[in-house]
């Protein structure tokens, strides 16, 4: 096996961080372009190495596609050892491919987008740090290293959301994201500890994925459920699911490439990745699977309803991200891991594309984000328009575009899989319709009709520079053709994505684990690749979904192109419902009332009552006490050397007296 180059993948961005982080300011003074050459170069190199390893992996027979590269020992304390090591298997390489690939494109895009920013080098430092953390997350071969990456991406997300921290709103948004994520991380860490202590009680002090999964049968079923639910709660924070999705829309305060990279394409899929990685555990707990599926479906629906009424272009996309992530979890929850990951892939292409396009729009509109002040940009920004349209087709699930294949696969699995149900499928379809509706609403409001911006802004509207449009084109090509990697068998494809990932999820896994020295699982993994006796139901569903999606588009066309007064009438006739959606179901307010206010009151009590009076009093008086002790003791240091000698003598005498006479 020659996968030993794998450590190069995370190292390149890290080197970028070090160079730009330490010397960035000086480099910018000398030669600004060097900063992005370093940053993009680092990620580009990572991508190349990933590509190399990926090709190598493809060259192997399916059952040999597992390699654990241990780089060096990290923590070793008694029986507990953790090393820094990377796991190469179809899942990690699959993730790593698009993380580095899309990451590279967005790095390139940022050159243009951030070109005039003062903190140019800081931005690229953070981006590279993010890439490092994300690569660590997906490549790690044990829970702890993965958790390091997990925390790392959270940190970068925080740093980048509040990148323009001089604006208070951005800082607040960053804080919200951070705190919400901490809540999730807390549960995640508890899950990890529960699992580790329990396995440790059986003498399995290891956090390696392969070890844990091959010994998973040591965990009693109720414990597996608890651990899975705790993990999933962590994932809901990172991947913005109910109930911890609230930070993601606010996270749009960051620069748009950040929204594209972190809050759409890569970081938010970490939860999906993690659940897939732990599929062994989740499969052992049907209840946890049910929870994942229901939460995913509800999130998909719920976020879509909110997106219907948002007027901020990035907010629409943000809620659509939440909604699409819900789809992925729906897929995972019904046991269709491969389908969920396939959607991760296609989503990363088209959502990155959509965000970058919206970035171009915002850039052209001099920072304006409200769609009500846009319109008619089609002619002024043709490239952006066409690419964004492609992205919209993809996300809406128009046949032939990538989103169609992945979304359809999830819906089909939700319908047909043993863990699925018709209700879940129906919720998914509803979300799909709404997705098509609000995405086209976005297109119509932004690119069609007359321009509603002020004269001055209109004057400045221009197409984005090359460094921004080229990534758009690449991504739009991927948005179209990315789906063909996984054409389902019903449409005569080979569903390559599923075949590729099968060793991780399917029955092949047992073989792999045996090869890695583990025991075969007691709980058999349910085969999600059940035989298709007939493709007829799948065709029916496909046609039905497509029709209903087209209907949604048509409705959008009618409402926002033809009878533009209608939306207002609808809103006026259903004021309470409209306001409910516009204000995002008042979830923020609910949280505020239920969690934050009591907590705040309690913490004010803690602060004013306990902290200021009791603790501060204690701390301050302790500090004062120690200071005073110091002041008193220091007099012993009189400056007269003979007193020092006396002190020395006293020491000797005490020692001798003790040893010779007392002992």
């Amino acid at each position: 096996m020659k996968f030993d180059l794998v450590w190069l993948i995370p190292i390149f961005p890290l080197v970028g961080v070090l160079i730009n982080g330490l010397l960035g300011r000086r480099i910018v003074e000398k030669n600004k372009s060097l900063v992005h050459w370093i940053a993009c170069g680092a990620v580009g190199l990572s991508f190349l190495v990933t590509l190399l390893l990926f090709v190598k992996l493809l060259g192997l027979p399916a059952e040999e596609r597992l390699y654990d590269f241990t780089w060096f020992s990290w923590i070793s304390s008694g029986v507990f050892h953790v090393s820094v090591g990377y796991l190469i298997d179809p899942l990690s390489m699959f993730m790593c491919m698009f993380v580095t690939g899309v990451g590279f494109l967005i790095h390139v895009y940022s050159i243009g987008y951030m070109g005039h920013d003062e903190s140019y080098s800081r931005f690229f430092t953070y981006l590279n740090l993010f890439m490092f953390s994300m690569i660590t997350l997906v490549l790690a071969d044990n829970f702890l290293l993965m958790f390091l990456g997990w925390e790392g991406v959270g940190l970068c997300s925080y740093l980048l959301i509040s990148f323009w921290f001089t604006d208070l709103a951005n800082a607040v948004a960053g804080k919200k994201a951070f705190v919400t994520n901490r809540v999730g991380d807390f549960f995640f860490a508890i899950g990890l500890l529960v699992m580790l202590t329990h396995l440790g009680a059986h003498g399995m002090w290891s956090l390696k994925f392969t070890d844990v999964f091959s010994h998973a049968q040591l965990l009693p079923p109720h414990l597996v459920t608890i651990v899975c639910l705790l993990f999933f709660l962590g994932c809901t924070a990172k991947s913005a699911q109910i109930p911890l999705y609230i930070w993601l829309p606010d996270a749009m305060a960051g620069p748009t490439p950040v929204s594209a990279l972190i809050h759409a394409a890569t970081m938010v899929t970490a939860g999906v990745y993690f659940v897939s990685r732990c599929n062994v555990l989740f499969t052992m707990s049907p209840f946890a699977m049910q929870v994942v599926a229901v939460v995913g479906a509800l999130t998909a629906f719920f976020a879509a309803t909110i997106a219907l009424t948002q007027n901020d272009i990035k907010k629409v996309l943000a809620y659509s991200t939440v909604s699409q992530l819900g789809y992925m979890f729906l897929g995972l929850g019904v046991g269709a891991y491969a389908a969920g990951l396939f959607h991760v892939l296609t989503h990363s292409f088209f959502k990155a594309l959509l965000f970058l396009c919206s970035g171009c729009v915002i850039h052209a509109m001099s920072g304006e984000q409200d769609m009500r002040n846009m319109g008619g940009l089609r002619k002024k920004m043709p490239v952006t328009f066409i690419t964004m349209l492609i992205g919209t087709f993809a996300i809406a699930g128009i046949p032939g575009f990538s989103g169609f294949f992945s979304k359809d696969e999830i819906l089909w699995q939700a319908y047909s899989s043993p863990q699925g149900s018709h209700l879940l499928w129906f919720i998914g379809v509803l979300a799909a319709v709404m997705t098509a509706f609000y995405m086209f609403r976005l297109i119509f409001m932004t690119f069609f009709n007359e321009c509603r911006a002020s004269e001055e802004v209109q004057h400045h509207i221009h197409e984005a520079p090359k460094s921004m449009t080229i990534p758009l084109m690449v991504l739009s090509v991927l948005s179209i053709f990315g789906g063909y990697l996984g054409v389902p068998e019903a449409l005569g494809g080979a569903n390559r994505v599923e075949r590729f990932l099968e060793p991780v999820f399917g029955l092949g896994k047992d073989k792999l684990l045996q090869a890695a020295g583990g025991n075969p699982l007691i709980h058999r993994v349910v085969a999600e690749t059940a035989e298709h006796p007939s493709f007829a139901p799948e065709y029916k569903l496909m046609v039905f979904t497509t029709c209903i999606v087209l209907a949604g588009i048509f409705a959008s066309y009618m409402l926002y192109m033809r009878k533009r007064s209608v939306p207002e009438t609808i809103a006026a006739n259903n004021p309470s419902f409209y306001r409910l959606l516009l204000n995002k179901w008042y979830v923020d307010e609910l949280y505020e009332k239920v969690f934050i206010n009591p907590l705040r009151a309690f913490s004010i009590f803690l602060w004013k009552g306990i902290d200021v009076i009791v603790i501060d009093g204690l701390v301050n008086s302790t500090a004062a006490f120690f200071m005073e002790c110091g002041e008193v003791c220091k007099v012993s240091e009189s400056g007269y050397v003979q007193r020092y000698a006396v002190s020395f003598l006293v020491g000797v005498f005490v020692l001798i007296a003790y040893f010779v006479y007392v002992r």
Partner: protein, 101 residues
């Protein structure tokens, strides 16, 4: 054979004590240093006595090394005294009290 070992050792201990007493009571840096030399002399005596009792040359070599070290210390110590004397006109160690607390 009575080799008066304990007499030598007692003498050495008392000499050492006299040296210590001088170090902690005299203020003249040179005399303080002389008292340290007395202590070293006492150590030498102990070493020679033990060397004879053990019948090994190690102790004798140690004494030679101590003599060399005493010489080296004298050189460095006197240089420090000269340095300070040039600056302040005194080598009373109680006068050097800038550094404290």
């Amino acid at each position: 054979m009575n080799d008066y070992q304990s007499v030598y050792l007692a003498l050495s201990a008392i000499l050492f004590g006299v040296g210590v007493l001088g170090v902690i009571s005299r203020k003249d840096a040179i005399v303080v240093f002389l008292c340290i030399e007395i202590m070293l002399g006492a150590v030498n005596l102990a070493f020679v006595a033990f060397a004879r009792a053990n019948q090994s040359a190690e102790g004798l070599f140690m004494v030679m090394c101590i003599m060399a070290v005493a010489g080296a210390e004298a050189a460095i110590g006197l240089a420090i005294f000269v340095l300070l004397y040039r600056k302040t006109g005194t080598i009373n160690i109680d006068k050097f009290n800038l550094l404290k607390w």
